[in-house]
């Protein structure tokens, strides 16, 4: 077979942006942006090089954590975090269920739907830490403000997913139950609950996990929990205690991820 008559060249045609001008413009724009962005960084390299030595100490602290010398602070911070996590998740779930049902278009009248959806939107668009700042200003320092923050964030998270789930839930099942002459409550109980419940349990566990991680953060602005302890440890340059706290957080997250994985498998 003679291959000599065939072309010796082939170029891969562009896959996403077909117009060559646009492609060039986009890559130029990307380069210009990177140059500008990196150029506007003001890095004090002297400070960084001093910091590297500190970084080394932190890594050492992480490898040789000190659980003992700040034990009391760690224990009280941890108990605040854990209790805050549990109570806020439970309260959050309890409130998010009616709001989630209210925010499902196929179940509720329009005005209720709009009110519930806007509660969700407010809760979702504000970061936990910003909510915490306000709640600390209103309710004073301590885990109670943290509890309220996490509960509020849970509502936005769970109610949204629950509402989307209900809207996606099979409408034929809904109609079948409605056709038997069931009341609104019976409809929720027989058509919606069985379809949505397993996922709700899974999501609740997932949120429990998130709430614990967040509880480690909101302490920075005074809402109690392990975050406050960590903040103090870092401020005092006690990297071995900080390392210990971080390892505890990682361990708890790992355990809870593992457990919630098991529970989710068991529920579904």
């Amino acid at each position: 077979m003679s291959a000599l008559n065939y072309p010796r060249h082939w170029k891969r045609p562009p896959q996403i942006i077909h117009h060559p001008g646009w492609r060039r413009a986009l890559s130029v724009a990307a380069v210009v942006y990177l140059v500008l962005a990196i150029g506007s960084l003001e890095v004090d390299w002297q400070r960084v090089s001093i910091g590297l030595e500190r970084g080394q100490r932190f890594v050492m602290g992480f490898l040789q954590p000190d659980f003992v010398s700040r034990q009391r602070d760690i224990v009280s911070g941890l108990s605040e975090s854990l209790t805050m996590t549990l109570t806020s998740t439970v309260v959050g779930i309890l409130i998010s269920i009616p709001i989630g049902i209210g925010a499902a278009r196929n179940l509720t009248p329009r005005p209720v739907y709009l009110i519930c959806r806007s509660i969700i939107a407010v809760s979702r668009s504000l970061q936990e830490i910003i909510i915490a700042i306000f709640l600390v200003a209103m309710f004073g320092f301590g885990p109670f403000a943290g509890f309220l923050t996490l509960a509020f964030a849970t509502i936005g998270f769970l109610a949204k997913l629950l509402a989307d789930d209900i809207e996606e839930a099979s409408s034929t099942q809904l109609e079948a139950i409605r056709a038997t002459g069931a009341s609104w409550w019976q409809m929720i109980n027989y058509a919606v609950e069985p379809q949505v419940l397993p996922r709700l349990i899974g999501l609740s566990l997932y949120r429990l996990d998130i709430n614990f991680r967040e509880s480690a953060v909101i302490g920075i602005v005074g809402a109690g929990g392990i975050g406050a302890t960590l903040n103090t440890a870092i401020d005092r340059y006690e990297y071995d205690s900080a390392g210990a706290i971080l390892l505890i957080i990682i361990a708890i997250v790992m355990v809870s991820e593992y457990v919630s994985g098991l529970v989710r498998k068991w529920v579904q």
């Binding site: 003679s2 291959a3 065939y6 072309p7 010796r8 082939w10 045609p13």
Partner: protein, 271 residues
Amino acid sequence: MLTIKGLSKTYRTGDSALKNVSLTVPGGQIIGLIGPSGAGKSTLIRCINRLVEPTSGQVLLGDIDLTRLGGAGLRVQRRRIGMIFQEYALVERLTVMENVLSGRLGYVPFWRSWTRRFPGEDIQRAWALLDRVGLMDHANKRADTLSGGQRQRVGIARALAQAPELLLIDEPTASLDPRTSRQIMRLLTELCAERQLPAIVNIHDVPLARQFVQRLIGLRAGEVVFDGPPEALDEAMLTHIYGEEEWQTNAPEEDDAPPAPAMPEARALAS
């Protein structure tokens, strides 16, 4: 020429898929490998280019023992063996041309394949092959936009782009309709004849195999139970290969040979 000596494969679960298989494939010969599902057809083919590691035995391509090679040596030898797959196994998000050129990967350094700057001869060869399988106009299309038959042609072109000395063909027609199956089998036999290329075709469809190959090998529970020309494969032998019960319940309506064997296959697939 390919020689297999005493090839065995035992999976970690303890299932033995191949038991002491020996055979020789001379140049230019197309061999059809038949047998029920689970007989070890696919394992045998994959043991030859070591996509599956054989437990013991030898695979000689020319005079090189493939089972003793490691790493780079194995990759150089794999270039000499083209493989065609049941579900085409094209890289779906790449263009047809890239799929054909990927047959040259063993020959080009990494930077060339990364930048898609293949040598001129490779590109010429790829165009020639695309022309031969009738897909010249489709070179710049993404592989997942093609029909089943077209995809299998790309798969054939990719295997031939390797300039192989042996073709391994795993169920080339199992995902195709009867007419396209015939076309693909005809194309394969023509291409092998043009190049004096030996091939092992692992095939479910016994009538199709009879029509197109010169030699059949029957595999049952990992052992070779038949090796001969298609004419020598009689009903008793088919019963022996595919098993007693299924065969006889489907046999009566048969007059000559072809149509019947499809049924036990279907059974075997379903089980």
